[in-house]
């Protein structure tokens, strides 16, 4: 079994998984926050646009989005970001993953916003803060704290969902697992276990950390 690690770049593949996770998580957080602001803003048009985004993206299979990123954007529309094939697919996978999980981040944040009593927003407006200032100083900091647990869940789901990127040839761990199992059918079960254990190692700390943070940062009322 030891020769699996010498024969294949298992750690490198997990490295790609981590890169996908981190970059997509940052992207999803940025886009998701933006969409969440649209959904809680007083402008009806932005509300609808935000709702449309969430309902469209959240209800589309991730595989379809990732494949579309490749076939649709790269092949059909020629929207390459790099001449390097692997890099191109990696970037588009990040875009697809970020777009998809942003819908979940938005809803997690919106549930966080709902934990903030309306009086907080009224008090913010009453001292003369603009809508943007109220969001930045009062609503979002409290909403993020109220949303830590669902955001953690989304991050765990995102970590595991990076395996879908294998569908467009990104060399992350699920892709390598398939190769290893084709080559070494005799080690089928150990290979499964190694990959599964790797994911547990990646996601377990996220769950523990968010549980701890959510109690530590909880806004006492």
């Amino acid at each position: 079994m030891g020769d699996l690690f010498s024969q294949y770049n298992v750690l490198g593949a997990f490295g790609i998984t981590i890169v996908l996770t981190v970059l997509s998580a940052i992207g999803a957080l940025v886009i998701g926050t933006f969409v969440a602001i649209m959904r809680v803003s007083p402008v009806a048009f932005l509300n609808k646009l935000g709702a449309l985004y969430v309902n469209l993206v959240r209800n589309t299979p991730l595989t379809l989005i990732i494949v579309f990123c490749n076939i649709g954007f790269i092949v059909n529309l020629g929207m390459s970001v790099s001449n390097d094939f692997a890099r191109n697919n990696l970037v588009w996978s990040v875009i697809g993953l970020a777009t998809y999980h942003a819908a979940f981040v938005c809803e997690a944040l919106r549930s966080g916003v709902n934990t903030v009593p309306t009086g907080q927003a009224e008090a913010a407006r009453a001292i003369g803060l603009t809508f943007g200032q109220s969001l930045r100083e009062v609503l979002l900091p409290q909403a993020f704290r109220g949303a830590i647990t669902p955001l953690g869940n989304t991050l765990i789901a995102l970590t595991k969902n990076t395996t879908v990127a294998t569908a467009i040839g990104v060399a992350e761990i699920a892709g390598l697992m398939k190769t290893m199992q084709e080559d070494r059918a005799d080690l089928m079960i150990p290979i499964f276990l190694i990959v599964a254990f790797g994911f547990v190692l990646l996601t377990l700390p996220v769950g523990l950390l968010t549980t701890k943070l959510s109690t530590k940062l909880a806004v006492k009322r």
Binding site: P117, E122, R125, I127, G128, E137, Q142, R221
Partner: protein, 242 residues
């Protein structure tokens, strides 16, 4: 200072404010009394447009209330508001609660805002709690901090929306004392309250509301000794014996 003319507002079918006319002079303390559901809280909240209204106009210091956006935010900065449920920013310390507005809206430096906040905390008597969070304070302390937060904006007028209704009885007086002191200092105040003692002691005028209308406007003496309207007589008859 505050001129309200012909203001009407509905909540769905309910006509909560009916042709409200009221002028509040500079330095005047107006106490609004009335039974629950009479529209007095709504009136208070329309003055800084936390509640929009349909017809009529409200001007503050000669300026018409803007509809929304930045001009409205600027005008709100001049109107201090104290809520029934305090509404201190739960994730900020007491000091940060008070300095937020002056720093973000009035563009004070942190040092100046801190100094001003400490002076105000001393004025309302909660200096020792400056670095605690709102949930660690008693209701009375929180409400006094809320008054300090509003004062930090150097408002032209202060609105109090039932400031003592959510307090335990033994904490009511500490808040009323701060308000009385503020009234004596010449602040223009609109106070929605059920505290008849405060109304007698601190008010220049009492406004009695029922069913969305202003039924009677009188000095506290006139109102409490010889109310003219039946609604006011009925209201006082129900509460004063206790």
């Amino acid at each position: 200072m505050v001129v309200i003319t012909g203001v009407n507002k509905h909540f769905g079918d309910l006509h909560v404010l009916k042709d409200i006319d009221l002028t509040i002079g500079k330095g005047e303390v107006v106490v609004v009394l009335g039974p629950s559901g009479s529209g007095k809280s709504t009136l208070c909240r329309t003055i800084n447009r936390l509640e929009p209204f349909e017809t009529g106009s409200i001007t503050i210091d000669g300026k018409e209330l803007p509809n929304e956006g930045k001009p409205l935010a600027q005008l709100r900065a001049d109107v201090g508001m104290v809520f029934q449920s305090f509404n201190l920013f739960a994730h900020k310390t007491i000091l940060d609660n008070i300095t937020l507005g002056p720093m973000k809206v009035r563009k004070l430096s942190k040092a100046d805002a801190d100094k001003q906040a400490k002076d105000l905390l001393e004025r309302v008597g909660v200096t020792a709690q400056a670095n605690k969070y709102p949930a660690q304070l008693s209701g009375g302390q929180q409400q006094r901090v809320a008054i300090a937060r509003a004062l930090a904006m150097k408002p032209k007028v202060m609105l109090f929306d039932e400031p003592t209704s959510a307090l335990d009885p033994e904490m009511v007086n500490e808040v009323l004392e701060v308000m009385t002191e503020l009234a004596q200092s010449g602040m223009t105040m609109v106070v929605i309250t059920h505290e008849m003692g405060f109304a007698r002691r601190a008010a220049n005028r009492v406004v009695f509301m029922a069913d969305g209308q202003i039924v009677e406007v009188a000095t506290p003496d006139e109102f409490f000794t010889a109310p003219k309207s039946h609604r006011a007589q009925d209201f006082l008859g129900k509460i004063l014996p206790h």
